[in-house]
């Protein structure tokens, strides 16, 4: 499997291969250790503020990456032949774990809104269903022979579409997001957005552009960690989220009234203009 993109988020190997030693190598090391420090701090604050029990999938992901980055670094240093396999296996597990973050955004964000949660279930089901059908109807050899970056890029793209769908529902139904969840959505959303673009271009570029992407990709991860750290520094209860009101269960009645009123509006528009 060709290793064509940063073997870790801190891009240890690609930069060493591209630049040799010197300041560039040091930069990649600095990015790696800053990531480790930020992840540790995020986990420390998470445990201290009891946020880990509220957002278990998110903190599992951070803990996994915290373990993955140094582990890959040491494998690269002392068990070099195994590096590519170890890296991509860990990266694949990491992407799978990150799907839990999407589920967590849905679970926490829509806990007080069963109506929107039902819409989200159908919309997310459609997104994942279409992705699955597309994967099944495509040639299986494509998946076996595709570079790992392409597989990761595809998975990140599906996550990106799922986040777009969720954000659209949050905005449409005016779902208030608490500070902590907002941080996760913003930070992780930006990271996925940048990952999709970087990973797609990575397999098409070479030379200096490729190297630039190799720096920008880990830099986006640092941005994700910084945003999360800012928003998840302390627990903030979401005061605007109210428990579901049992009086609002009659959806049929509400929908009927809305349809009638929209219908009236349409008739009113036509009648006035056509008068």
């Amino acid at each position: 499997m060709p290793c064509i993109f940063p073997p870790t988020r801190a891009s240890i190997r690609i930069q060493r291969n591209c630049f040799g030693s010197g300041p560039e190598k040091m930069l990649s090391q600095v990015i790696l250790w800053i990531s480790v420090v930020l992840e540790s701090l995020l986990l420390f604050r998470g445990f201290r503020q009891r946020l880990t029990s509220r957002y278990p999938a998110f903190y599992c992901y951070i803990a996994f990456v915290l373990f993955q980055d140094p582990a890959c670094y040491f494998v690269d240093r002392w068990m070099h032949p195994l590096y590519t396999q170890v890296y991509w296996t860990a990266e694949f597990l990491c992407v799978l774990l990150s799907c839990g973050i999407i589920f967590e955004i849905y679970r926490v964000g829509l806990a007080a809104y069963p109506g929107t949660a039902r819409m989200a279930r159908v919309v997310l089901g459609l997104v994942f269903g279409i992705a699955l059908v597309k994967a099944l109807i495509s040639d299986p050899r494509l998946w076996m022979e595709a570079p790992a970056t392409n597989v990761e890029s595809t998975l990140r793209t599906v996550q990106g579409v799922a986040i777009v769908a969720m954000v659209a529902l949050f905005l449409f139904y005016s779902i208030p997001l608490g500070k902590n969840l907002r941080g996760i959505v913003m930070g992780y959303g930006l990271f996925v957005c940048w990952s999709v673009i970087c990973l797609t271009f990575a397999s098409l570029t070479s030379g200096k552009v490729h190297v630039l992407l190799a720096y920008l990709y880990p830099a986006s991860y640092l941005l994700f960690l910084s945003i999360c750290l800012r928003y998840l520094w302390s627990y903030q209860a979401d005061k605007s989220a109210k428990p579901a009101d049992p009086a609002n269960r009659g959806y049929g009645r509400v929908a009927d009234a809305t349809l009638r009123r929209l219908q009236d509006a349409r008739g009113y528009l036509g009648k006035t203009v056509g008068s």
Binding site: R118, M119, A255, D256, A257, R266, G267
Partner: protein
């Protein structure tokens, strides 16, 4: 595998959605949660903020004919300008009223655990269509004046009748389901 245009499109949409969430999300949520005590099924008669006899004359050709008979280009120009402003204000008010209806619906439906996906989609489509008609009306009025938008009105009216039939079917289905639920409980 994902192509470059698809990846760029998804990346851009995601970025825009996040920017929108960052800038407008909290403001909208805040304003909505402050208004959460409004009656969810109220009619309020908000669809006719202008007096009906006044609204009926906005697109009426009788006034145009009357002004044309005066044979004064200045009067005609003044009348055209004033009538355009009134028509635009009316479209704006109607659009605001439609958005108000939908805001109330969203507040009620987001907490309804028996929300129906297809009905909700139908309502969203109808809402989008109405907003689109308002937008088109606005553009048409600005471009050629209120006297030339009758074609759009006829189209809206045709759609209105077609949707009335769909709505009738929906009402029958909803009533049937409610009766069935009441019978089983």
């Amino acid at each position: 595998m994902i192509g470059v245009p698809t990846a760029l499109l998804i990346g851009t949409i995601l970025l825009l959605a996040l920017l929108f969430l960052a800038t407008r999300g909290s403001a909208v949520a805040g304003s909505l949660s402050a208004k959460s005590d409004v009656s969810l099924l109220e009619d309020a008669g908000e669809l006719a903020p202008c007096p009906p006899e006044f609204v009926a004359r906005i697109f009426d050709s009788a006034d145009w004919r009357f002004v044309a008979r005066a044979n004064s280009p200045q009067l005609e120009s003044l009348f055209r300008r004033e009538r355009k402003l009134v028509a635009l204000l009316w479209v704006q008010q109607t659009s605001a009223a439609i958005q108000h209806i939908m805001r109330q619906h969203k507040e009620a439906s987001r907490q309804s655990d028996d929300l129906n996906f297809s009905t909700e989609t139908k309502i969203i489509l109808l809402y989008s269509q109405l907003l689109l008609i308002c937008g088109l009306l606005s553009v048409a009025i600005q471009a050629s004046g209120p006297q030339h938008v009758r074609g759009l009105a006829v189209y809206a009216d045709t759609l209105s009748h077609r949707l009335a039939e769909v709505e009738q079917g929906f009402r029958i289905a909803t009533t049937g389901r409610q009766l069935h639920n009441a019978g089983s409980s």
